[in-house]
């Protein structure tokens, strides 16, 4: 019971005028710090010894210029092992005009709707696990998959007793940094992405909380491999480069990605499952060096339940095959059983603990593990993570 008080009532909160919303400026931010410790193999960072190179910070500002016109921007910086290095970037920025509920358009840099969670993969506070299932949402691919610069059309439409559909379609390009040299004597330059396009169709079914979705994305990378002159005859002699080729190898890499999704979220329960394939095609004069066609497979099932307002356990099982034609050796698969607990210490501060029991080495980087081939790494290994996030 609230104590009686003779103090005057507090003044009403200042409100934006929704007719113009000129004062409706919203500011939100988050700060995360995590640690990762693995057994046997390094994963994402120099994690065998334990690593705290797992930080994220972001803040955003959005406002309405009219009831149907919004603008927003988010700055983001992170570090995850060798990635990020706290370099501030525009995570997203947009100008969004919604003509009707069934049609809106936004231009700028927008998060890519792919699967259930790609566009919110950075947002630790929005989920239970620290790492989303890495088969579908590889955290080290963040720079390639998370946002595109261009245009997006979106909307939703009620279907009467059949529920509702939501749709988002986009086209544009990605901001790509030149990757580091892939091997001694080989460098990469002239990196370009002529296009990326795709979309997601979600069906909010008549069963309360049950959503089915399908996503598709297509993109093309172009770049040049440059070999030191001494390497060219060596590669030619073993058939990796065609006779008469020079030290520069232009490459086109087309990728098509699709995923189907099912999510059931009702009350305190969340169940999700997704299955997808990514199809990559290299177009180059050196098919022996760059496999012309690869299909990989990714899927997971996930469940979480909020037991109390401050305690939510969860689990998932995630599987990744880099090449569906090769599934036998340890480098050909990555199976991940993860258990997570989330503690909401206050409405704006949380702590998570997580364990992963891994089978396979397909998700590991040879360069981070001082070997030439991930086949040489330990097949069974574990990862333990802790992370705390404050947000408002």
């Amino acid at each position: 019971m609230e104590p009686a008080s003779a103090a005057p009532a507090p003044p009403p909160e200042p409100l934006a005028d929704p007719a113009t919303d000129v004062t409706d400026v919203r500011i939100h931010a988050f700060v995360s710090q995590g640690v990762i410790k693995t057994t046997n193999n390094n994963y994402l960072a120099r994690s065998k010894r334990g690593s705290a190179e797992f930080s994220e910070v972001g803040f955003n500002l959005t406002t309405s210029l009219s009831p149907d016109l919004r603008v927003g921007v988010q700055m983001f910086a992170h570090e995850l092992g060798p990635l990020g290095n706290y370099t501030p970037t525009f995570d997203w920025y947009y100008l969004d005009y919604r003509f009707r509920d069934w049609l809106g358009v936004r231009v700028g840099r927008n998060k890519i709707p792919f699967g259930l969670y790609n566009d919110s993969a950075d947002i630790d506070a929005a989920r239970v696990p620290i790492l989303l299932p890495q088969s579908l949402y590889p955290i080290d691919h963040r720079d390639y998959l998370l946002a595109q610069t261009g245009i997006e059309l979106y909307g939703n439409q009620r279907l009467g007793p059949l529920g509702q559909i939501e749709y988002r379609g986009y086209g544009g390009t990605l901001n790509l940094a030149t990757p580091p040299p892939p091997a001694p004597g080989v460098t990469i330059d002239k990196v370009d992405m002529p296009y990326v396009y795709g979309g997601r169709l979600s069906w909010l079914t008549p069963v309360e909380g049950l959503t089915a979705a399908a996503s598709y994305q297509a993109l093309r990378f172009d770049w040049n491999y440059n070999f030191v002159p001494e390497l060219v005859p060596v590669f030619q002699s073993v058939g990796l480069l065609p006779p008469g080729s020079g030290p520069t190898l232009p490459v086109q890499f087309r990728v098509k990605l699709w995923v189907t999704s099912l999510e059931y979220q009702l009350g305190n329960l969340l169940v999700a499952a997704e299955y997808g394939r990514w199809i990559g095609k290299f177009n180059s004069r050196a098919p022996a060096l760059l496999r012309p066609h690869t299909v990989n497979e990714r899927y997971y099932g996930m469940v979480s339940y909020r037991v109390t307002p401050w305690f939510t356990p969860g689990a998932y099982y995630s599987v990744y095959y880099p090449n569906i034609e090769q599934r036998d050796s340890r480098k050909d698969y990555q199976r991940d059983l993860a258990l997570s607990v989330r503690f909401d210490l206050t409405p704006n501060w949380l702590l998570k603990l997580e364990g992963h029991w891994m089978n396979g080495t397909a998700a590991l980087e040879a360069s981070m593990n001082d070997v030439k081939d991930v086949q040489e790494l330990d097949k069974n290994w574990s990862a333990f993570l802790a992370k705390t996030t404050a947000y408002f």
Binding site: P12, E13, S120, Q265, L269
Partner: protein, 166 residues
């Protein structure tokens, strides 16, 4: 140069096994969804203690629960009259918010907060403003034609009207 191989179309026995497992998981999800929905529908009927108010100039006198949920989750932004809709929430720890959330949005306030966290930081949208009392909601709704809010049960304040939920 080797030609591109066509995409794989044959389904291997192991792939069939995985598809069967996925189909089984999907069936379980659908079955669980149907069962839990029935039980929560019954529970939400017991949740009461709120009423939905709109500005008195709003021509609508009733709205479906689904439409109201869309408005408060900002999936829908307009009334049937094409006027922009402006939902206003109450504080997340208030009793009336909990009742409204379970009954109309069909999810607890914590799940709604999670929904908005996802929307805020992915740049999709921001939640309705949260006001601290019934009086603040009444003043907001009474002074803005497209506004809609919810308050504790009682007399309908001047400048607003009760919106029936179909």
């Amino acid at each position: 140069m080797k030609p591109f191989r066509p995409p794989q179309t044959a389904v291997s026995p192991s792939a069939r096994r995985r598809l069967r497992v996925l189909a089984l998981v999907g069936s379980c999800v659908l079955w669980a969804a149907a069962g839990v929905t029935v039980s929560l529908d019954a529970a939400s009927q017991a949740a009461d203690g709120y009423q939905i108010i709109a500005n008195e100039r709003n021509p609508a006198s009733a709205a479906s629960r689904e439409f109201l949920a869309d408005v408060f989750l900002k999936r829908a932004g307009r009334w049937d009259s094409s006027q922009s809709a402006f939902p206003v929430d109450q504080r997340s720890d208030s009793r009336v918010r909990r009742a409204f959330s379970l009954s109309v949005l069909k999810r607890p306030v914590s799940a709604v907060r999670s929904y908005w966290t996802q929307r805020i930081f992915s740049g999709r949208d921001v939640p309705p403003p949260e006001l601290g009392s019934d009086d603040a909601v009444i003043r907001f709704v009474a002074s803005h034609p497209g506004a809609v809010g919810y308050i504790s049960t009682g007399p309908i304040p001047a400048g607003t009207k009760r919106l029936e939920v179909r």
